[in-house]
Symmetry: D2
Amino acid sequence: MSGSGFGTLFRVSTFGESHGPALGAVVEGCPSGVSLTEADLQSDLDRRRPGQSRFTTQRREADQVRILSGVFEGVTTGTPIGLLIENTDQRSRDYSKIKDLFRPGHADYPYWKKYGVRDYRGGGRASARETAMRVAAGGVARKLLSQSGVMIRGALTGIGPEFIDRDQWDWAQVAENPFFTPDAGAVARFAALMEEIGTAGDSIGATLEVVASGVPAGLGEPIFDRLDADLAKAMMSINAVKGVEIGDGMASGTMRGSAMADEMIPAGTQDAAGRADAEFLSNHAGGVLGGLSTGQEILVRMAVKPTSSIRIPRRTIDRHGAPAEVVTHGRHDPCVGIRAVPIAEGMMALVLADHLLMQRRFDGR
Amino acid sequence: MSGSGFGTLFRVSTFGESHGPALGAVVEGCPSGVSLTEADLQSDLDRRRPGQSRFTTQRREADQVRILSGVFEGVTTGTPIGLLIENTDQRSRDYSKIKDLFRPGHADYPYWKKYGVRDYRGGGRASARETAMRVAAGGVARKLLSQSGVMIRGALTGIGPEFIDRDQWDWAQVAENPFFTPDAGAVARFAALMEEIGTAGDSIGATLEVVASGVPAGLGEPIFDRLDADLAKAMMSINAVKGVEIGDGMASGTMRGSAMADEMIPAGTQDAAGRADAEFLSNHAGGVLGGLSTGQEILVRMAVKPTSSIRIPRRTIDRHGAPAEVVTHGRHDPCVGIRAVPIAEGMMALVLADHLLMQRRFDGR
Amino acid sequence: MSGSGFGTLFRVSTFGESHGPALGAVVEGCPSGVSLTEADLQSDLDRRRPGQSRFTTQRREADQVRILSGVFEGVTTGTPIGLLIENTDQRSRDYSKIKDLFRPGHADYPYWKKYGVRDYRGGGRASARETAMRVAAGGVARKLLSQSGVMIRGALTGIGPEFIDRDQWDWAQVAENPFFTPDAGAVARFAALMEEIGTAGDSIGATLEVVASGVPAGLGEPIFDRLDADLAKAMMSINAVKGVEIGDGMASGTMRGSAMADEMIPAGTQDAAGRADAEFLSNHAGGVLGGLSTGQEILVRMAVKPTSSIRIPRRTIDRHGAPAEVVTHGRHDPCVGIRAVPIAEGMMALVLADHLLMQRRFDGR
Amino acid sequence: MSGSGFGTLFRVSTFGESHGPALGAVVEGCPSGVSLTEADLQSDLDRRRPGQSRFTTQRREADQVRILSGVFEGVTTGTPIGLLIENTDQRSRDYSKIKDLFRPGHADYPYWKKYGVRDYRGGGRASARETAMRVAAGGVARKLLSQSGVMIRGALTGIGPEFIDRDQWDWAQVAENPFFTPDAGAVARFAALMEEIGTAGDSIGATLEVVASGVPAGLGEPIFDRLDADLAKAMMSINAVKGVEIGDGMASGTMRGSAMADEMIPAGTQDAAGRADAEFLSNHAGGVLGGLSTGQEILVRMAVKPTSSIRIPRRTIDRHGAPAEVVTHGRHDPCVGIRAVPIAEGMMALVLADHLLMQRRFDGR
């Protein structure tokens, strides 16, 4: 009955509902001495924030984060960092129509089955609104990771059946368009598809990738807390994610070993412990072997299903078991996968920060 | 630096290397009063055991499991269950050729980077041999689950680019062929492909699915310990798994909401708490919504990459950083995905048992 | 580097410093359907609140708690409960004199050694101010426990060398005096001692007890998460507690088995599972045998050391290693043990709620 | 329903009943490169082993430990260490007389209430026999700690009302007498008391202390996983322990601040991070302030209650709720506190190893 905490040494515990007074988090385990300000966290929150373009929900939330503890004179003290975002757009809507209905494809029905009590306003705890706190907490992790030279970047690679041209991948483009996509040439196609979807009152899925570079070799704790296993859990825990791949992912199942195994040659360098570094000639493994980072880029891909909040009528039941029909109006993202990019980056940051702390060398002191 | 434990209430901790004296596990949290014998666990172990067909490794391990505690007069006592399998096929090989080499695509290199010490015999802890204990522990979980009417079945759906015809799916076939495949018509194709791979000295990936039926609605602990998130971690923690899908998985990213959302109609029944049950008209969600089970079948699909132990020479480095070439001879599975079927079943059992215990109703007593 | 979370299923994570903007907590794992209001928590907070009598610190904090999530229409929803108390008495003091000094008997020195960064204002995170959140979270636990008929009461049994007359124990008296003491006859002695201590500019230790009644038999998770072990940790984690006893406690070491073992006779009743209840003829064990509750009252006793914030000069060093002298002025409790009573009650509630959830019966559904 | 694991990074999970086939443990988190042999663990096991003197039980167990994994060529590999002790003295006794009785002061009754199934042979899991695995696992922790200059020693300071003369404390004496006592002058008194107890068919409690020296300042994770809190849990989790004290312990409740606060002067040295060390002029705090180690000796004291296995008839009930009388014959320790000394040392080692790993410095690599 718990489940709102994530991580072992670098651990975040969150609370908050879509239409409650506030969202919050406790971030435990950040070492002391890391410089941290609210502005550091706000930039990622602003990327996730609704209402940034006409392709995302028009709900207006300031998503202004406050740091309530754990930072003194601009640096972390090693004590837990309290984060708070007040909900400002708690528009008093009339929920009487949907309060007893279970929207198909949403968490309404299993939440009712599990708890027998349900905050039906905007999805309550099951709303993607809670992900704001993942982004905020992930921002703390990013500050820590940046000290170690780890950089995390995400990008949207497909909306529905439209995919980018990977040869046109340009990280600099991601910040330049409302789709977080690295292929400028795909923007027009994505926009056209979104228009069509909007007109149809439908929604659409998306595919995205998160890449971490600068990750030292050896992160991950076999055999269960493998780095890839923890990344898979992190991503699958994001609302609407239905598939997670590392490196070649599902395609690995169709490949031969001679094509899959990434060959190594000497890098000519060595790590802090004096062990020789390898240079890899390819990265089918996505930077993880045996559950441990190899020092290559870590590549995670995921699919985000289309939201079920659509204007097309769907059959369902109400809490009394009677048949019903539901049509969702209101301010919903027609493609929730777009805003998932900074969320996935945040979750990867949480995983890597935790494993980086786990892996600190033991020198007997 | 831990990481060998899995689960919260139903928790397994394992130990053991490929060529060490034994593999073992502690299974904590099994309620008292569950009937359990060594034979209950042996049947699944025998399914995973090497040497069962000419398509798997010819290494011969009896994999005979002993229950050392936690069971008294045929039933569990609620105390931890100790499991032990002695390694019997510790053939004294000469490892001098490979002890300083990092096999590409294997865990050799990152293990060396992480630990600086490496049991190079047969992969040590990174060998798939440890999965025997997952199957044994999963067997305990299955006994518990069977009390609740939960059944878990797995099947291989593809070897390399060859896939089954899903219309021919017949669970009864799975036990009748060496590929754990439900489509009898695919057996000849799979066999032919395996022959070709063997002749080429290469290896091949596989795709498999695990399905749980009879799972009550509401299992899963939002927002991080979602049922699908824990399943993703469980499966990705299995050696060589590179992608995990729930329901429509990666394809969800290409779909529209009107196609994805599973409609509901009244089932006409109610659960133990008196809440109305829904009947779903489809199962694109794979039995999980908002991280909670819906009462439908839970469907998990995964890709297992081809093993890197192949007879084709590959470039690598040794631990001194010098370039080298490696060719793997010996008794290796050309398609490790085949034997992964009972392992994935075991991992799913561990996840479901844990969540079932988490979800026990609180009645104030 | 974490450590700010407590509990497994019923879990609280807290944040906040003495002179920061706010204290907060996430309470995970409270089942749905428990009625809960801010007033439920405020009553215990008010008991702990400073400035309630002339024998405690005159610092004035409203300690007004807000529930930010997890409660809908007056009952818990099963999702995490966010709690927040704004700090209102952040008087802008001049800390320049003590910011580089390590107060003897305080956490200043080891915090500096551990973190190298220190919020020196009022003790920062090491201040007893954080215990307000233990009381608030414990209040949620109490609501849950009350559904099961569990009642927790605490009392002060000694200040310095002055102890109560146990024959005069009257629970009704606890709320009637500023010492939380059940012996009305001891009040005058305690008050006189406190006056003397105040005049001397010194401080004084205290002894207190917490008693839980109505606890069902069988709570506790052998062999490490025994009920008494978790209670010992809970109490020793409270600031200034230096000793914890269960039942006869340290005196057990001096006793004979014939005196210590609590005899049983038939109670003539049985529990929900149909197992016969025993009536115990004594309670030397303090309600715990083999780490499990016996159904008797659970008795925990603890000693709270005198605070080191005294007006008598003490030798110390500063952060540069130079010798120094420190004298503490300001608004400090001369006997921190007094206000520890509601804190210890809160910690016991957290432990019992967690174990009660752990012990829910598994009925296969 | 779990509870058989202890620790976060350095974690031990144990299994095994008194009269089952074997006891075992998985020790996770030991860093790689620590030299470790079975002989390292055997020496402490031999100190705990029954039958070492006429003052302990005459049950004969070889307690020969095997290391089944995690060690390669004499050093740890970083993978989990499997430990196994086969039970050799499973004398086939007739348990029919006591199998339905609940021995007063034993775990029989609450185990029955909790589990409804009970391995009645020799106490099953509740037997102190499980502590052999704590000693073995603690031995691994000691090897790790010794690399950091941490030394742990235990001593018995009292049997019943007879206490040592602390001025005669000589650590060298502990290994020279059957009581693990540091005061040679107390041996005769202890022996005489034990004779008397034996003749009376009674049992007797004991008081003991464990001291760690060489512990760096700053270990402990506020606010809940304080070092003293974890030590309190560790000790209270040992069978028959009913009270735990740090430093002045329960006496702190009677003291004044001017007497309790340990003054500091410059030590003239600094730690690895360049922070000045203090020299303390006393150690009333027992080496822990604010839940963190101060660099002083860590002193933990505990009381072990007299065993309830006595030859004097006691009233009880049977599992059907009928009144009964029980008299315990057989090979029992008349003072279980004696053999608790190496067990308490082992538990302290587990706590310190875990906190030492938690405290590794983060240097950004």
